[in-house]
Symmetry: C3
Subunit: 303 residues, 3 copies
């Protein structure tokens, strides 16, 4: 099929677009609004796909609160939508993590309120009955519940999300890629994306993220799935403090090269940058990197 006209120039979330670190020490109340959208965008130049999103981006906007804060979330399903959507926060106790109370048809809104009781970094995602399809179409993001004592200060934070696209085409085949339920059932994706696109944060896309030599860097890495476990690895670096499975309360692991990040998990880590050059964030199941799109670059600038 020929490529379709796009509804947006870019589906990839900006990895730098993260709320500021928590700088308060009393419980706060947050009013958060997120719209669910359905829009056609490019996976890579010449390849279009019917995305579904939180906030018009993949991954959806990162939410950041402090342990004990209250979140009042209004989810609005755009009137142009064809499907119902909802939201399951892995950061909340209760039915479907909020999904049961937020299932809304096109043009509808729902509001839930919950207290962020357990610190950690967690996934949120759409959880309608065909949730694997909705997540594969882009409906996942991360919520960070900082512990009372916060996180170590760093110079830069980035927010990435890996997930897989199941389509009737082959990676790189120009045209519109229809969704393929058979390959999803077989867990055999066409693309494995970073922030919803193929190779978006390289010279072939929006360019790399940049930091200065000597900066400390923290990465929040959401594994959306719906099915694959990522073997996350920073080429040319090491994860010097690794918060396995988003555990922010235990001592982080040390000098981790590669680690499994199951679908439905957000991992986080901190890196040092003593040497200039690219740090390539990949899934070390390398055929996903070489053949399916899963790579993004943080460029360390300096001499």
């Amino acid at each position: 099929d020929p490529a379709q006209s796009v509804d947006t120039d870019r589906i990839a979330a900006d990895p730098r677009d993260i709320p500021d670190p928590v700088d308060w020490d009393e419980p706060r109340h947050h009013e958060i609004e997120i719209a669910t959208t359905e829009e056609i965008a490019e996976v890579e130049p010449g390849v279009t796909f019917q995305y579904m999103t939180f906030g018009g981006q993949v991954p959806g906007p990162m939410v950041r609160v402090r342990e004990g804060d209250t979140i009042n979330l209004t989810l609005t399903n755009e009137s142009e939508s064809a499907m119902p959507h909802n939201i399951d926060f892995h950061a909340t106790y209760g039915p479907g993590g909020g999904a049961d109370d937020t299932t809304i048809g096109p043009g509808e809104s729902a509001t839930i309120e919950f207290q962020a009781m357990y610190p950690g970094i967690h996934v949120y995602h759409c959880a309608v009955p065909n949730m694997d399809h909705h997540i594969s179409a882009g409906m996942f993001g991360a919520i960070l519940v900082e512990p009372e004592d916060g996180l170590p200060e760093v110079d830069h934070e980035f927010y990435f999300g890996q997930h897989e696209l199941y389509t009737e085409g082959q990676a790189g085949e120009e045209g519109h890629h229809g969704f393929d339920f058979d390959s999803m059932r077989a867990e055999d994706p066409t693309y494995v994306c970073l922030n919803g696109e193929a190779y978006a944060f390289t010279g072939n896309g929006y360019g790399p993220m940049t930091v200065d030599k000597g900066d400390t860097v923290r990465v929040f890495f959401a594994s959306g799935g719906p099915n694959l476990t990522s073997s996350v690895h920073p080429i040319g670096n090491v994860m010097s403090r690794y918060y396995r499975d988003g555990d922010l309360l235990s001592e982080p692991d040390r000098n981790i090269e590669t680690a499994p990040v199951a679908p439905g998990t957000v991992a986080a880590w901190e890196m040092e940058t003593p040497v200039p050059g690219p740090i390539k964030i990949v899934d070390h199941a390398l055929s996903r990197v070489v053949r399916k799109g899963m790579m993004g670059v943080i460029e360390v600038e300096g001499e």
Copy 2:
């Protein structure tokens, strides 16, 4: 093929059927008898399969002892069986974890005795040459070796086992499903089961497990495989203390949403239940949940 007549009304083990916690503090001697069976049962209504089991249930009966206890195990292969079977306890040092000394044909018995030297929660399984087939047919379970100081007290414990079925049919296709070695070789299962059936502990099966709001809950989660890694997750909850890979001696991880559980591992965790409603135990590789049967519910009752 048409569905076959069943040898048992239910293959799914009752998740509540667990030995009591250790309440002794001197080494004990345990006489344990387990029968291996081969029986046709339903995966879901209208779908039959040729199971092989320990004790007529999937997963097999949970064994629970204290570090330093002695286990005298008699394995009996029912005379109606067509195949030899044996048992490999991951909790014991020695050839095949006991498998070499317990390989028995139909109508035979074998007895082994071993001391449970290392605390942890471990898998047992049949380990004949075609062990992947026997495990896929249901032959796995868990043995808990409690540390000298025991485990934290909780209000409820549940015992679940995930494993995958490789058949010539598609999930949901009525009739008898013959075993399919080709899809097993490709690690592309038809069903991914909790306690041997599809959706057994939901309203469509035997109903959910129930606890009262405020109860503390511990789950023992055996990943039988034979091939898939589970990305275990409790929907609407969090694993507040997670015993990764069954390690009961290190400090548990904290507030884990999802974690990888390799085939041949038993993980365990504790949860709090401050909010009523269902907690859905899933593999967060969600196509296994939506399309292949892998979900069971713990209902938190109360206001």
Copy 3:
């Protein structure tokens, strides 16, 4: 296709061929030379494959240094080669972990020098654009950077590497197996090897490794991939101290039966041997053991 004539009688690295433990306490300088080769060898009797290697063996030679040491590495691509190669050390900061500065055509050499700044046990591998092919052909190994205080003393150390072969044939099918990019893209391997061959360290190959009853054993286990996560398990034993993902600085996990080892990771563990008999090192995704070659034996000798 008929089997081809071999360039070497054996591609499997000797698991005992490991540099001695660090016994120095001041920073050292190491001159290391590794040749990249392309050679035909047997996967199992009667089955040939076009390997690519570091040092003529799979996995490549283990490098062992102390935190703070300097490595001066010369990589030489044999003149008989058809392809360019390079080397990415997961143990070094900088572009491609060294790959950018070592890409060499047939007959060329390149030298890099770097300081081993972060302790841990890490993978190295070829990282040319088709790196998944080169790794599948055998181009991976391990570098151990010992912490300042070293590792616990043990009686025996072994070095194993798991990786997968993607070929146009079926496992066990005699003849020459051409490389199959389609099955690599689908992550559906023909063989899953230990040290590059099928069942090499069993009675059908070079025989088991041997230790004496009561010996302590450490295993370095490199997961080359390029795509599969290993569920590593020692049949008839337990990993009493498990260095998850090669983390040598945190407290090791305790009594781990099975653990995920992502491609691009080296795990390590220590075992006790109180009972004689075979310890079978496997990937507990058992169809890889039963049907694809992934097993090696450490025989515990004694009464």
